[in-house]
């Protein structure tokens, strides 16, 4: 290779390098743009529709302005309470099994794999399954069925985070407890789980935030209800469901309410995510060392 072509190639290589750098910076900017845009729109259009009425009034009949989303907020609360009552204990139990009893066994690997696969099942399919499992025998759409659908979706997340957090607890802590003659179940619950509890709680928060925004599984389980209700065996409204209906409606006032609802939802979720980041960055197991 003579000097000229060598120089040419070096220049070409440097040029490629710069181009790739520029492209990846461009990609980063393009990725950040929609996030900024979404938040800007949520704040601008949502904040103006948030007032006291939004939180304490139920929707007005079609054509009348005003009203709020009180029924949807209460409904979401009921649904999430049912979901947590199902998802959190079962998820934590599964996580304890994976970390404390099943380490390295074939069954544990299979459970772990299934949990990850279950996590990838589309939420709409979950809704269909719960429809034919709960709604059909019950003969009515109900808050209970919606809660079950959301609860099942929480299990894999809670289970896997619990396992991760328990694995981080040093072995010496367990042995110390057992060495003092504490029964195994007690040592797991009041020593290991307690040590990892900040991490486990954040995992639950994360799962909670995730299902709080789920709409698809509620379409044919909770179904929606324009009135205030807390009964478990009747249809119930949820914040995401209400947003869906309002966004597809032709009324400007309903669009306004939809943006307001979306802002409330996103604030809840951002709070959860930031909390998770805060706790994990501080080191979950400060208490253990």
């Amino acid at each position: 290779m003579n000097g000229e072509t060598f120089k040419m190639r070096a220049r070409l290589r440097a040029l490629t390098d710069h181009t790739v750098t520029a492209l990846s910076i461009a990609a980063t900017i393009i990725v950040v743009t929609p996030l900024v845009a979404i938040f800007a729109y949520l704040v601008i259009r949502g904040a103006s529709s948030l007032n006291l009425d939004f939180f304490i009034k139920v929707p007005k009949p079609v054509g009348e302005n005003g009203g709020g989303m009180a029924n949807a907020i209460v409904g979401s609360g009921v649904l999430l309470a049912v979901a947590s009552a199902i998802g959190v204990p079962m998820g934590i139990g599964g996580g304890i099994y994976l970390a404390e009893f099943g380490r390295g066994t074939k069954l544990a690997n299979a459970v772990r794999f299934t949990a990850d696969v279950l996590n990838g099942v589309p939420s709409i399919v979950m809704g269909l399954a719960i429809y034919s499992l709960v709604v059909v025998p019950q003969r009515t759409f109900s808050a209970f069925s919606g809660g079950v659908a959301l609860g099942i979706m929480m299990i894999p997340t809670v289970c896997r985070t619990t396992e991760e957090m328990l694995l981080m607890v040093p072995h010496a802590v367990r042995e110390a407890a057992l060495g003092l003659g504490v029964p195994n179940w007690r040592s797991v619950l009041s020593i290991t789980v307690k040590t990892a509890s900040p991490g486990i709680i954040t995992g639950c928060m994360l799962a909670f935030a995730r299902v709080a925004g789920e709409t698809a599984p509620l379409l044919f389980t909770a179904f929606g209800n324009p009135f205030m209700t807390t009964t478990l065996n009747r249809p119930i409204e949820a914040l995401p469901l209400q947003i869906f209906v309002y966004a597809n409606s032709p009324y400007d006032d309903w669009h306004r309410l939809a943006w307001g609802g979306a802002l409330v939802l996103i604030l809840l979720i951002v709070l959860a995510v930031s909390l998770v980041r805060y706790v994990t960055s501080r080191g979950v197991l400060k208490g253990a060392s």
């Binding site: 009893f101 299979a110 459970v111």
Partner: protein, 368 residues
């Protein structure tokens, strides 16, 4: 559906990779062996079996096993219910449900989905799902990989945290909010500016035709899907790229490579299987995504060559028609579409999971 990134995670791959790091950290600080002994020692077993609480212990153990087994039970229950409830359609249309079309007796036109005459075929839905997911991957893969490259190889340290937080937030935004934003912001933008431009530039190919004044359609669905699957692709790619040992980079740099050559030869080549896994995982998410797509894809069960036309997807038709379905056949046809979606997403997820695990466990890719 949001996925979280960082340490508290929903998806295995990230956990798989970050785990050894966490454990070594603990090991250094606490000087405890990183890998826990898999088997309980004989003495411990003996002591536990003799203790006063042997019954309570066993009970607790089995309770936890039950919780773990419930995960299997859920998957089996879902599959069983979907199969049973879609029986009517299966008996009537068989496998032809996924490739046949019908002729409308009145208009003599070819149709696929006719609830009135109870003729059902899933073809337009499968087509819509494939087209919108493909468009989503087309947009999200270069951006996601580009972001991952920027974050692992180029980014100043102080930008890394905020960027990770941004991707985490993108993953956490619910589908319905993406949908709301798409309906009021993205669709008008596409309608006014992007679509006319595309028609002008690519009109000759026939893939974009100016026959849809709404701005809804496959492209709108694809764009919003791409934003939603970006975080998964980029965070997983980042994790696999971080898992490539530093010695690889240093070796390539020592041979006089530029930074891009180092990334291409030292990093991307070693991480490629994991990156493919990340892309497939993103595909799995795109296939099953419901709300945002339903709101912007147009919801007409037709097949068009143009990506600007209205269409529909498997998840979207279920969300739209299920509560309004009156006949048993209609309902069971929708459930059969759900079953197909369930099977496809499970297969896609299993493949992706195996690919990512293969890389992070360090078997095939390290051979190069």
């Amino acid at each position: 559906m949001p996925v979280s990134l960082e340490k508290v995670t929903v998806h295995v791959p990230e956990i798989r990779i970050s785990q050894p790091q966490i454990q070594t950290e603990v090991a250094v600080r606490e000087s405890v062996p990183p890998a826990a002994p898999a088997e309980v020692s004989a003495i411990r077993k003996y002591l536990l079996s003799r203790s006063d609480s042997a019954v309570a212990d066993r009970l607790f153990h089995w309770l936890m096993v039950l919780c773990a087994l419930s995960i299997f039970a859920i998957v089996v229950l879902i599959a069983w219910r979907l199969v049973v409830s879609s029986q009517v359609t299966w008996d009537r249309f068989g496998l032809g449900f996924f490739y046949k079309s019908f002729v409308n007796p009145d208009t003599h036109q070819r149709i696929y989905w006719d609830p009135v005459n109870e003729q059902f075929s899933a073809v337009p839905f499968v087509y819509g799902t494939l087209v919108s997911s493909f468009l989503a991957l087309l947009i999200a893969v270069p951006l996601g990989v580009g972001l991952a490259i920027f974050m692992t190889e180029m980014c100043p340290r102080m930008l890394r945290g905020p960027l990770a937080f941004v991707t985490e937030l993108l993953a956490a935004i619910p589908s319905i909010i993406y949908g709301l934003w798409a309906v009021f912001v993205l669709v008008p933008l596409l309608r006014e500016h992007v679509n006319p431009l595309l028609v002008k530039l690519l009109g000759w190919s026939g893939l974009v035709a100016n026959d849809n004044p709404t701005g809804l359609g496959f492209l709108a669905g694809g764009v919003i899907l791409s934003i939603m699957i970006l975080p998964i692709i980029s965070s997983l790619t980042r994790e696999v790229m971080t898992a490539v040992p530093h010695s690889q980079r240093e070796a390539v740099l020592a041979l006089g490579a530029t930074r891009w050559e180092m990334i291409r030869m030292g990093v991307l080549r070693n991480a490629r299987i994991g990156i493919v896994g990340a892309i497939i995982l993103g595909l799995g998410r795109a296939l099953g995504e419901t709300m945002a797509v339903t709101m912007v894809i147009g919801n007409t069960p037709e097949i068009h060559k143009s990506i600007l036309s209205n269409g529909t997807s498997m998840a979207a038709v279920i969300a739209n028609e299920f509560t309004e379905a009156v006949s048993d056949v209609h309902r069971s046809a929708l459930i059969e579409i759900g079953l197909a979606l369930f099977i496809v997403t499970i297969i896609v997820n299993v493949i992706a999971q195996l690919l990512v695990w293969a890389v992070t466990r360090g078997t095939p890719s390290q051979a190069h």
